[in-house]
Symmetry: C2
Subunit: 211 residues, 2 copies
Amino acid sequence: MNIQTPTDKKNAKRREKEQIILRAAERVFAQAGFGGATMQLIADVAGLPKANVHYYFQTKEDLYRQVVSNIFGIWLEAASAFDDAVGPVEGIGAYIDAKMEISRSHPNGSKVWASEVMHGAPFTQDYLETTLVEWTQGRLAIIQRWVDAGLMDKVDPRHLLHMIWATTQHYADFRHQINTLNGGQPLGEAQWEEAKTTIKRIILQGIGVKV
Amino acid sequence: MNIQTPTDKKNAKRREKEQIILRAAERVFAQAGFGGATMQLIADVAGLPKANVHYYFQTKEDLYRQVVSNIFGIWLEAASAFDDAVGPVEGIGAYIDAKMEISRSHPNGSKVWASEVMHGAPFTQDYLETTLVEWTQGRLAIIQRWVDAGLMDKVDPRHLLHMIWATTQHYADFRHQINTLNGGQPLGEAQWEEAKTTIKRIILQGIGVKV
DNA sequence: CCGTCACTTGACCAAGCGGTCAACAAATTT
DNA sequence: AAATTTGTTGACCGCTTGGTCAAGTGACGG
């Protein structure tokens, strides 16, 4: 097993090149939005001729869809931290940590997603209506169980989830504003830790769990 | 006094027309972003020929700047609720209420602002560095005073402010996602009230004030 | 009634856009 | 080593864009 056939090598190289383009596209889409981004600029950032980009991704829309679906997948994974927990302290705490880490490591993906939703999800409404709705219902049920078990205050799980999403993603989407208010400097390691701690503390104490 | 000269009438008509264009522009910029919006579409929504729009606003950038500065002004006004307060319960509570009302009544303005900041504030960096920085420093000082007076827990005021901004604006910027998760329906009056109550409760309880 | 000035608008333009294509180079298969 | 497939690229095309402009319209002051 695990023999590298020539086909494998080719596929690997293909995927590698696709990754280069996807990373470039993520940056450009995040910086300019779908409408403002140009295939020429994406190609320049990727270091390729425009026609070559079109060889791997037929249309701008194809490329954009992949970028959006990437960040979406990363966020879904962060839910595992949520599911494995026995109570709100670990579950919600770990989920906030995970989402904050993503905001730190993938700010561009977060921005692209925010842009897409803000404009009415013109390309990914199907994701919202299927995957996101199912995922959300599962998580809402978990929170509701915690409420029913008396592990936390009676809080509408929907709005709690919105608060967590809003706050964690804010650190990616509004990174520029945060930096400007921080004297033009990006948050340092310590400040980032303090952000996580503060947010967790306010939310956990806010829903009435012992920290 | 208060005599309506012909000049006044003309100016009034001019401002009226500018308002029509600004409203149309706000909608189009919110829906498509700066790069995706077209002057032609803005003109169509306003019900005017494109050349006429250019008569009132020379460039797309001029028009965009005004839209951004409008929502910015509205948000600054919401701060009064903050300032007149004697403690965190009234101050922060009233500020959250005010910002939630704006998210409800001016979702498009909020989206335009979010878009602008997300893309690195390419047109309004000066606003961020002057007005916003000053405003924020004033508010941070107020919160710090409350902390020092023992009226609330020791919480980093910066992150508290970010949480409030993030959450309240989320209800405007991610309105589409919230509606989708609400069965495709916009939040009703009762749901909106519940959102406000839940958010205020979590945050106020989270920073340790008696509600 | 006439002249002035703010406003209106269809036609137009250069520039940039997403996307195509034919010619070529490199790698794999036979 | 010939044949075939896969990847690369500069030049190109039709179309849309932001913005201009000259010719007009209408309202007001003298």
